[in-house]
Amino acid sequence: MADQDRFGGPENQRRRLLQAGLGAAALGTIPGAGQLAAQAQGAFDWKRFKGEKIEVFLVKSPRGDLLTKYHKEFEDMTGITVGSEMIPEQQQRQKAVIEFNSGNTSFDVIAISYHVQKRLFGKNKWMEDVRPLVADKSLTDPNLDFADFSKGGMAWATQPDGRIDSLPFNIDPWVIYYNKELFDAKSVAYPKSFPEIVDAAAKLNDPAKGVSGFVARGLKNANVPVWSSFLLGYGGTFIDASGKLTTDNAAAIDAAKMYQTLLAKSGPQGVAGFNWNEAQSLFLQGKAAMWLDGIGFAQPLEDPTKSRIVGKVGYGVMPPGPKQQVSAMFGDGEGISSFSKKKGPSWLYLQWASNKANQARMLEAAAGAPVRSSAYANAEALAALKVPKAWVDCMLTSARIAQPGLPIIAPVTEFRDIFGIALTNMINGADAAAELKKATAEFQPVLDKSEKA
């Protein structure tokens, strides 16, 4: 049975390694031949775990949908049966923490949002380090091509202690969607600096016509990355080297004031309760001149059944701030549960899910920004793209200047909640400096406790 000598004895492994090395040396120059050679030599075999079953725990999103759609392809290729569960993000995160904490997980592979879960999962070593798996030539497809993964993506997937406990799939830099028609009507140019964003928003704001100059998330928790988009441009950080919060210094206050001015003066009525979907629907109706949010929300804007502004959308890279030009970034990937008893088959799944074909499909569907550079060179995917080419250009430029849009700490949700409330209060007129001071004082003990434990 193939699964009985899954990892083989030491002798067996050495032989496999040798064979793989020889195979790769002989055929490495012929593109696409590596996999065939590996199979012929018995080194790497997609079918080695034939007949096993793994459970995959995904987030309901365009990316989760895409993977699920093609699971059959993986099953045919490997003979492994995939059971998958896909639930909304928030519930998925809760269930994951509760299961990991119980010391036993019902899933083998899990989708992870780096901006929320990286530190918590890394600190508890809840996901398997993939480095030993990558080193094992009998388990790793010679075509994996690690160099193809972008640096930003690998930075997300690498823990501070060097462990790589997931493979990155998607990075989500924040950009400014703008309505070119509204900009042209008032002959306003796309802003080139932070003050110009504020000016443009004020000029384009036209409450009589129901048009807002600027829209973004005002809802607590969801709104924090909007503020950090400005914070990073002002040269701000979240935490200094000694573990002290820097979220009430001058840069943070300037960023918060900019947030306050934009949303309170040029934002729609009730923006304090807006999440991305309210902001998106306003922008779709042609009722907002600018919308700052993740790049993954583009597809509906170019869908004639949903949007009134098809073909009029500009995709703007975040303008440079006073200190630097940064696009705040989210990201997600998948890892193997440390409690899984089927790490071999799970590793095959990870390799398949992040392979070049799946990454190209993600781009084609505009379901996210693939971390593999090869996806952007895939002519077929680019030709079939459901959004304009400008979107791809904007994404590539943004990805180059991207930095994490949230601090990499365990209590991210509490951070977002506390600072989110401060920001919402600012929209409703509270003093920016005082709110940040209060939020920082409230969160510092939470942070200290989480880092100590």
Binding site: A272, K287, T413, D417
Partner: protein, 301 residues
């Protein structure tokens, strides 16, 4: 066989044996109650004495969590929001429900059909109701502001304003649960005797006097039952608020239940969350006792 003919000692033994046998019969019920009610309760009490966040080690802190809650401004505000919300969400459906019951108690064409229509909101799922209301509340695209504009009123911010959010949420509760109060009170009205009304009419009582001095005291016990049910429901309202505002804007509609949810399932502070549960339980218990006391009183009038 009778115990009378037995010597006293044997009789006592028999009774003791019978008592033992009874214990055997209630054992399954005891086991179930112990497992699903008593044990979780004791465990919650136990956890509330620990400083424990999932993903890090637990420390015993005794009453530390309670002390922190007592000075936590956000928690105290959530208690106030809960009382404010509950007061409105009990009073409004009681008044409107009683009025509706008075109307539906009269004879008029299509009464049965209209009663059925009136009760329909109760059958809808709270989350679905909340989602529909979320769309209606939208400041730019919502139908409520459109209706206001039709009668020449300026648009309102509804749940997007910290001042209006709780009354707006109560509107949803009123729409959803007034029919329940109506049904309970209608049941009470149907059981009323007709004689007091006849004699009062002979004495020249007005319609208002009939209602105020005869109907209201007679249906009061039913209204109190409705009040008890509404109070318990309103106190523990979660889905409506969570779906429509998530406790926002800021923390303007954050009730104890939402605070509890955040602590337990968003921040994973299990110790704090357990302490909140205990405090919440005490509040619910106190209110329930108060209402039962009121109910005893109405029985004698």
């Amino acid at each position: 066989m009778s115990t009378i003919v037995m010597p006293p000692a044997r009789g006592a033994r028999f009774l003791a044996r019978r008592r033992r046998n009874y214990y055997l019969f209630i054992a399954p019920a005891l086991a179930v109650v112990g497992a699903v009610i008593v044990f979780p309760w004791l465990f919650t009490l136990w956890m509330s004495a620990f400083d424990w966040t999932i993903g890090s080690a637990a420390h015993f802190v005794g009453f530390g969590n309670y002390q922190k809650l007592a000075t936590n401004q956000r928690f105290l505000e959530s208690v106030l929001h809960t009382f404010y919300f509950t007061a409105l969400a009990v009073a409004a459906p009681l008044v409107l429900g009683t009025a509706a019951a008075m109307i539906f108690h009269r004879e008029f064409p299509f009464r049965g059909l209209l009663r059925g229509v009136f009760v329909m909101p109760m059958m809808a799922t709270p989350v679905a109701v909340a989602l529909v209301w979320t769309m209606m509340f939208h400041p730019q695209q919502g139908v409520l502001n459109y209706l206001l504009s039709l009668v020449g009123l300026p648009p309102s911010l509804w749940v997007y304003s910290p001042m209006l959010v709780i009354p707006s949420l109560v509107m949803v509760e009123v729409w959803h649960w007034t029919p329940l109060v109506m049904l309970i009170v209608l049941g009470g009205l149907a059981a009323l005797p007709t004689e007091p009304y006849e004699s009062a009419r002979l004495d020249g009582a007005t319609e208002w006097q009939l209602f105020r001095y005869i109907t209201l005291p007679l249906v009061a016990p039913f209204i109190v039952v409705a009040a008890v049910i509404r109070t318990i429901d309103a106190l523990k309202t979660f889905d409506t608020i969570y779906v429509i505002t998530g406790g926002g804007p800021g923390t303007a509609s954050e009730t104890i239940n939402l605070y509890l949810y955040l602590q337990a399932f968003a921040f994973y502070n299990i110790g704090t969350a357990s302490a909140v549960v205990v405090v919440f339980f005490v509040i619910v218990l106190a209110l329930a006792l108060l209402l039962l006391h009121v109910r005893e009183k109405t029985k004698w009038t």
